[in-house]
Structure formats: structure tokens, C-alpha cells
């Protein structure tokens, strides 16, 4: 630890901390634009210049390391003049029309900096050189008129996402932010993760859908877990008047470090499905509205009349642990139905639980992917699902990461090469996904785990969808299409129906569907129960690496929609049952291949 004197106040900071860090600790506000806590220090905008006693010139506080007994002044006339100059230069370079900008009044770091310096005018008039708007991208807009060339977007695209789509053409005052070799963003190699938009300090990158829907301060921020895969990225849900406005990555989230992938950021706001707004019962060819009691009575009578070995109960892996728990207690422990099925085919989670019984703990945290010198990705396409895990690897490629990728697990020779060369590397990792597990029998897996253990390779098993791991621990496995029963009870929630789900449902004569959205499933159902979606239903989720996360409620549920726990519990009362199963101990009782942090 070292002592730094900021405007006369002594603060203690870590060795290697920058002057900016020290100033923050001292509560001294130094404006900065190109600096971002998640990006490497850059020192380009020169807005954060401060006076350091003994230094000949002004010092950029975002890059300069603080040293012991250093004396720093952050508000001298010299410093303020430099700040004002830098701002004047920026305002005179491009075309800033604050009066109608989407970022004005709080969301623009450039404007805020000007306010902080009490700027009421621009000493240098702009040149009024027009820049064409690039609106070719479906999710966001590139407005070079408002770009301050801080390169935050370029750096997040390269340093953190590892995609290197954004860059600069020309140099000096002709520098221009472009995609690839200056082609429209919409036709570029952009993977639409939208992190550049979240990192942009001005209105130069604008989110299409949430534009003008309100400033950060007008919106309600709810921390919530991303359910679009099981990595456990934390995202902030921004809402207004009980309406979803935008999704952002939480900066200090352990796994995603502020990043989101296109799936996690945009799929929910793009969701155009129609809600199930009322309970319905089939009368002949028609589904007619009914109230909850009627519907549950019909369901209960059917469940009672049809023997338990003629009943299948299915549930979506997007359901919370609480929901899975109630589901298991009612359908397995009490009704002892023929099969409990999960609404997706990915077996990685169940396999990992199965192997845990023999091997105990053999998996590592996903975060090991951020720090490795060689990686084998087997049976998983990290550019589709689990993209953030893909970012962790891609961004290390320029640093020399040796990457082996076999998404379909069809190249055994690649595994062999990795095995043979494993001693070349200090920190090798191996990622196993759905396609590998599907293609291998338990024997192969056992063998591999033995090898991994010996070779000190850190192993990560990607466990499919949001809560598939918790489901597996609770004994809910992917449904077996060969089994057909007279009655099917399907807890769909906000799950996107796939052909297998429809197939399994069609096998039964009586179909009960509990869903948030209309789909082919609700179309063919005999009873439809309105469910909440992930924004409305609060509950816990278990990530790929065994972290217990809470999905907070972000929106008030629509009228009549009920949580899975409530609907199952109310159904149970029709059988004179009260549900008492403890979901926490259900998790702890089961040996797992990675230490759960609950």
C-alpha cells in the first residue's frame, strides 16, 4: 500500500493503482472520457490531466501510476484550463446537437463533463463537416457526427469481445470509426452483441429500440440473471411504466464483467410472441376462457381418473429452482407419474450429475477460460450459445492463445493432438458441450476425465439452458420420446416451443399446458394455464459452475398469470396436499461435479 496526497487529503491505495483510482478514493472528481474501468488504460482524451508536484507537464491520471507520497492537484486553474480546452476541441470537431440527441440530459459523458466545467458556450465554432449516419444495423445506429474518437467501442470490441469488427480508417483529424474495411455495420463481421453501444460515452452509438424512451435515471434498474444460457451472466433490466426498455450487462458481475451477448441483450426485447392472458378449457374444437378454479378442477379430475403410470409431466429448464422443486414434489413424490421430462435434449447437465457420483468434483469455474494459454472446445459452438465464454477465449487469441475448436465433436484427431501437446502449455483448459456428450458413451467420458485429472487440464462442462443443472440435480432429465402416456402436463413458462416438445405433447390424449406465450403447444392443449415470464416470476437459478443466482422480478405480472409454484401448489390442494419439500437441501443432498456455492 502507498500514500497519495490528493488536494491535500492523504489516501492509501494499492501499489500500482493509478492517480485516478486514488482520486476516486479521495472523492475528488476527475472527468474522463476515453477511460473505462473494464478497458486497458488508454490516455487519449487528455481530459483527466492533473498537476503532479515535481512533474514538468500535466499528467494523465487514468494511466499514470500513483507513487508513494505523490502530491496531486486536480482542480488548479492550469488543470481546469486544459480540461476546458480539450472539451472545446471536442465540441468543435464533429456535430453535436444536444437539443435532440438521444443521450442528452444525463446519459452523455461529454455533455456532463462540459456542465461540470460550467461551460456555457463553445469557444471554437464547429466546422460543420457532415458525416453520414450508418443505420444498416438492425439493433443499433452508428452516428459519426457525435463520435469523439475515444475508441471505447473499438477497445471493447477487441479487448473484451475479441471480435475486432470496429476500427479506425485514416489518421489524425481524418480518423473515422468504421466497421471492418469501412463497410456498413449491418454487412460487417459484427456479431451484434451491443457491448460497444453500452460502452459509448456519447450518442454516437444508439440503441434503436430504447432510443428516446428515457434517460438512465428515468428507468428502473433491476439486477437479474440472464436465462438465455447457463453461464450465469448478470444483466440489468431497465424498465419504465412496467415495460421492458433495454438490457445491459452488470459491470462488476463475476462471469460477464459487464458484457452480454446478442442473445442475452436483444432476444427478450425482440420477443414478439403474444401472451396467454386467461385460463382456457377445450370445448370440442374450441378453447374457451374459464376461471382458474374451473380449469384446475378439470385438471385435477383428469389426473385422478388417469392412472399415474399414464401421466407424463414436463418442465422447461428456464423455470426457477423453486418451480422445479414444487413440480418434483407434486408429480414425482406424490403422484409418482410415469416420467418427469425436461423440455430440452441437452444431456450435459444430467451426465455431469451422473459422473459426480463416481468422480466427485472434477469441473472448474467458467472464469478459468479468461486465463489460459491453450483451449480445446469440444462439442459446443461458442459463437451461438454461451457466447460470453467464447469472448473469454477469443480475446486471448492476439495474446497467443492456442485454440482448438471442434463444435460438432466430429474430429477425434483434434482431441488427440491436444492430448499429445498438453505439456507445451501452462494453463490448458477443455470445454465440453452438448454435441460431445451426445456422441460419447459414459466409458469415453470416464476415460477423458481420468486423463484431464492427470494432465492438470481444467475442465468446463457447459450445461445447456438456464436451470438444466438444477433440474438434473433434482432428477429431472431430458424427456424420453419413446415413452407415451394418456395425459401430459407441460410447464412451458416462457420457453420457446420446439418440435420435440410438440411431438411429446401430441402423444397424449389429454394435454395441459402452463405457458406465458401462445404457441403450437397452447393451440393443441385441452387446458391452458396463463404463466408468468422471466421478467415477472422471481426465483433462483444454478449456473454452469454451480453458482446460485437470484432472478429478481422486474415487471408486475399481467392479470391472471400465476407463478409455477402457485399454480402447482393450488393444484396440489385439490388433492388435499400441502407442498413442503425444501429446495435448498434437495440441492445439497446430491453429490455434484463442481462445488456449489449456495
Amino acid at each position: 500500500m502507498i500514500n497519495v496526497n490528493i488536494n491535500g487529503q492523504i489516501v492509501e491505495v494499492e501499489n500500482g493503482a493509478t492517480i485516478l483510482d486514488a482520486a476516486k478514493k479521495a472523492g475528488a472528481n476527475i472527468p474522463s472520457l476515453c477511460h473505462h474501468p473494464k478497458l486497458h488504460p488508454y490516455g487519449a482524451c487528455r481530459l483527466c490531466l492533473v498537476e503532479v508536484q515535481g512533474a514538468r507537464t500535466l499528467v494523465p491520471s487514468c494511466t499514470a501510476p500513483a507513487s508513494d507520497n505523490m502530491v496531486v492537484l486536480t482542480d488548479t486553474p492550469r488543470v481546469k484550463q486544459a480540461r476546458k480546452f480539450v472539451l472545446s476541441m471536442l465540441f468543435s470537431e464533429r456535430n453535436h446537437f444536444c437539443m435532440y440527441c438521444q443521450a442528452t440530459d444525463g446519459d452523455c459523458e461529454l455533455q456532463n463533463a462540459a456542465y461540470a466545467e460550467d461551460m456555457t458556450n463553445w469557444p471554437f465554432t464547429p466546422l460543420y463537416l457532415p458525416f453520414a449516419i450508418d443505420a444498416s444495423h438492425p439493433d443499433f445506429i452508428l452516428e459519426n457526427n457525435r463520435c469523439i474518437l475515444c475508441r471505447r467501442c473499438v477497445r471493447v470490441c477487441g479487448e473484451l469481445v475479441g471480435n475486432f469488427t470496429l476500427g479506425f480508417e485514416e489518421r489524425g483529424s481524418a480518423s473515422l470509426l468504421v466497421a471492418d474495411n469501412s463497410i456498413p455495420l449491418g454487412e460487417s463481421t459484427c456479431i451484434s452483441c451491443g457491448n460497444c453501444v453500452q460502452f459509448c460515452p456519447t450518442g454516437a452509438l444508439i440503441d434503436r429500440r430504447s432510443a428516446y424512451q428515457g434517460r438512465q435515471t428515468d428507468l428502473t434498474h433491476t439486477e437479474s440473471i440472464c436465462l438465455d444460457c447457463a453461464l450465469g451472466c448478470v444483466r440489468v433490466v431497465l424498465t419504465r411504466d412496467n415495460r421492458l426498455v433495454r438490457l445491459e450487462g452488470l459491470l462488476d458481475a463475476e462471469v460477464n464483467q459487464g458484457l452480454l451477448c446478442g442473445l442475452g441483450r436483444y432476444s427478450p426485447v425482440k420477443d414478439q410472441r403474444k401472451r396467454v392472458t386467461t385460463t382456457m378449457i377445450r370445448r370440442g374444437s374450441q378453447l374457451v376462457p374459464a376461471n382458474w378454479e374451473e380449469a384446475l378442477d378439470v385438471v385435477a379430475t383428469q389426473l385422478k381418473t388417469i392412472g399415474s403410470d399414464e401421466i407424463s409431466a414436463y418442465i422447461s429448464p428456464r423455470q426457477s429452482i423453486e418451480a422445479l422443486n414444487a413440480f418434483v414434489e407434486f408429480f414425482r413424490d406424490h403422484l409418482q407419474v410415469r416420467q418427469l421430462g425436461l423440455l430440452n435434449k441437452d444431456e450435459t447437465a444430467s451426465v455431469s450429475v451422473r459422473l459426480a457420483e463416481e468422480f466427485g468434483v472434477f469441473e472448474s469455474d467458467v472464469t478459468v477460460l479468461s486465463d489460459c494459454d491453450a483451449a480445446l472446445v469440444l462439442g459446443a459452438d461458442l459463437t451461438d450459445k454461451h457466447q460470453v465464454a467464447g469472448f473469454m477465449l477469443k480475446r486471448q487469441l492476439p495474446g497467443g492463445l492456442k485454440l482448438f475448436s471442434d463444435p460438432d465433436a466430429t474430429k477425434p484427431e483434434m482431441l488427440e493432438e491436444f492430448k499429445n501437446r498438453v505439456n507445451e502449455w501452462q494453463t490448458p483448459v477443455m470445454v465440453l458441450g452438448e454435441n460431445f456428450v451426445k456422441r460419447s458413451n459414459l466409458a469415453t467420458l470416464r476415460e477423458l476425465i481420468d486423463w484431464v485429472d492427470g494432465a492438470h487440464v481444467r475442465l468446463v462442462l457447459l450445461k445447456g439452458e438456464a436451470n438444466a443443472y438444477a433440474a438434473a440435480i433434482n432428477g429431472i432429465l431430458p424427456s424420453d420420446p419413446s415413452i407415451s402416456t394418456k395425459l401430459a402436463y407441460m410447464v412451458v413458462g416462457d420457453h420457446y416451443a420446439n418440435s420435440n416438445n410438440i411431438a411429446s405433447l401430441q402423444q397424449s390424449d389429454f394435454k395441459i399446458v402452463q405457458a406465458a406465450y401462445q404457441s403450437e403447444l397452447t393451440d393443441i392443449a385441452d387446458v391452458v394455464l396463463p404463466a408468468m415470464n422471466w421478467l415477472e416470476e422471481e426465483g433462483h437459478y444454478l449456473s454452469t459452475d454451480g453458482k446460485l443466482n437470484l432472478n429478481h422480478q422486474a415487471l408486475q405480472p399481467i392479470e391472471l398469470a400465476k407463478s409455477t409454484v402457485e399454480s402447482v401448489t393450488r393444484l396440489a390442494t385439490k388433492f388435499g396436499l400441502t407442498l413442503t419439500r425444501n429446495w435448498m437441501s434437495a440441492l445439497t443432498d446430491q453429490p455434484t461435479s463442481i462445488t456449489l456455492s449456495l
Binding site: 456535430n95 437539443m99 460550467d118 456555457t120 463553445w122
Partner: protein, 180 residues
């Protein structure tokens, strides 16, 4: 002593700043106790007194030859000149015309517009003023007080005028300084 004289005029703007001035509502009466309103768009005197006024206020940027005359006259005749609103301070939305130039804009409006009939032509009567590059008034004349905003709030305008009425040069900061 006599109340300070205030004159105002609007150039290439939208009159919103003067509307914001009216948003002082009842305080206008208070204000008329502090200052004497001379020529303004809402009074009937046609130009600032030749003898000069204490405070001259200009809304809107410079966008044609007529604006230039008005701005220079207002500067000559006022002790303190206030640039009121984003157009006067920065150039504002009308400055977007600079990207294309007046000619292209005239062509679009008077020749190309879908609704024009065969009389379409760019008006060129000597009675009409000629468009110039749109700029903030500070590019043409010295400005003493900048009050940005689109529009500046009635509170901001009142605070600034009250200060000026009391012979103080107002400090435009914090809530008073809002460019939106």
C-alpha cells in the same frame, strides 16, 4: 434611479426562447417592476433605442443577411448582450443546413418538394434577404452572457434578467446551464 432598459429580438430560431420568457407567467409583472421592456417582438417599438439599452437579448443564430444587420445593431445599442438559447449560443438546429448549403436547401423546398406546382422556382426578389452560413451570434458580435438551452427554462431567464437588473453579471451554472 431609472429601471434598466431591456430590448430583445429573434433571428434564426423558433421563438421558443421568447415563449420560455413568457413562461415566467406571473413573474412577468414582477419583472416589469425591475426592468423596462423596450423593443421586443411582443411590444410595438420597432428597434432598440438609438440612445442604447442596458440589456440586449438575441434569440436564434445568424442565418441570413437580415439577421446580420439586426445582430450588429443590437450589439451597437446594448451595454450587455445576452445570447439566449442554443441557436444563439451554438447555432442550433438551423445550423444543420450548413451540411448541405443554402442552395441545396432552397432547391429542395421550392423546386423539388412533392407538393410544388409548375410555378416552382427559388424566390429571388430583392426584397428578400439572402441566406448565409448559419453561425452562433458570437461569431459575428461580442457576447457578454451566454444562456444556452432549447429552450432555457423560465427560471433561468428570470434569474439572469434579475441579476442584470441588479447590475450583476449572472453566473450561468448548475440548473441554469442546460443545453437540452
Amino acid at each position: 434611479m431609472a429601471k434598466p432598459k431591456v430590448a430583445s429580438d429573434w433571428l434564426a430560431g423558433c421563438a421558443g426562447c421568447h415563449m420560455s420568457f413568457l413562461d415566467m407567467d406571473e413573474r412577468i409583472i414582477e419583472l416589469t417592476k425591475l426592468v423596462e421592456l423596450r423593443s421586443t417582438p411582443i411590444t410595438d417599438l420597432k428597434e432598440p433605442d438609438e440612445a442604447g439599452v442596458d440589456v440586449g437579448i438575441l434569440e436564434g443564430g445568424i442565418s441570413n443577411t437580415y439577421n446580420e444587420q439586426v445582430a450588429i445593431r443590437m450589439r451597437k445599442r446594448s451595454r450587455i448582450l445576452v445570447a439566449l438559447g442554443d441557436c444563439a449560443v451554438f447555432g442550433g438546429v438551423p445550423a444543420m443546413r450548413n451540411f448541405y448549403g443554402a442552395e441545396a436547401a432552397l432547391k429542395r423546398a421550392y423546386v423539388e418538394a412533392e407538393s410544388n406546382d409548375d410555378s416552382a422556382k427559388i424566390p429571388s426578389d430583392p426584397e428578400l434577404s439572402k441566406p448565409v452560413t448559419v453561425k452562433p451570434i458570437s461569431d459575428l458580435v461580442k457576447v457578454d452572457v451566454f444562456l444556452p438551452g432549447c429552450a432555457p427554462s423560465a427560471d433561468a431567464i428570470f434569474a439572469v434578467l434579475a441579476d442584470l437588473a441588479n447590475g450583476k453579471i449572472p453566473e450561468v451554472k448548475d440548473d441554469l446551464n442546460d443545453w437540452h
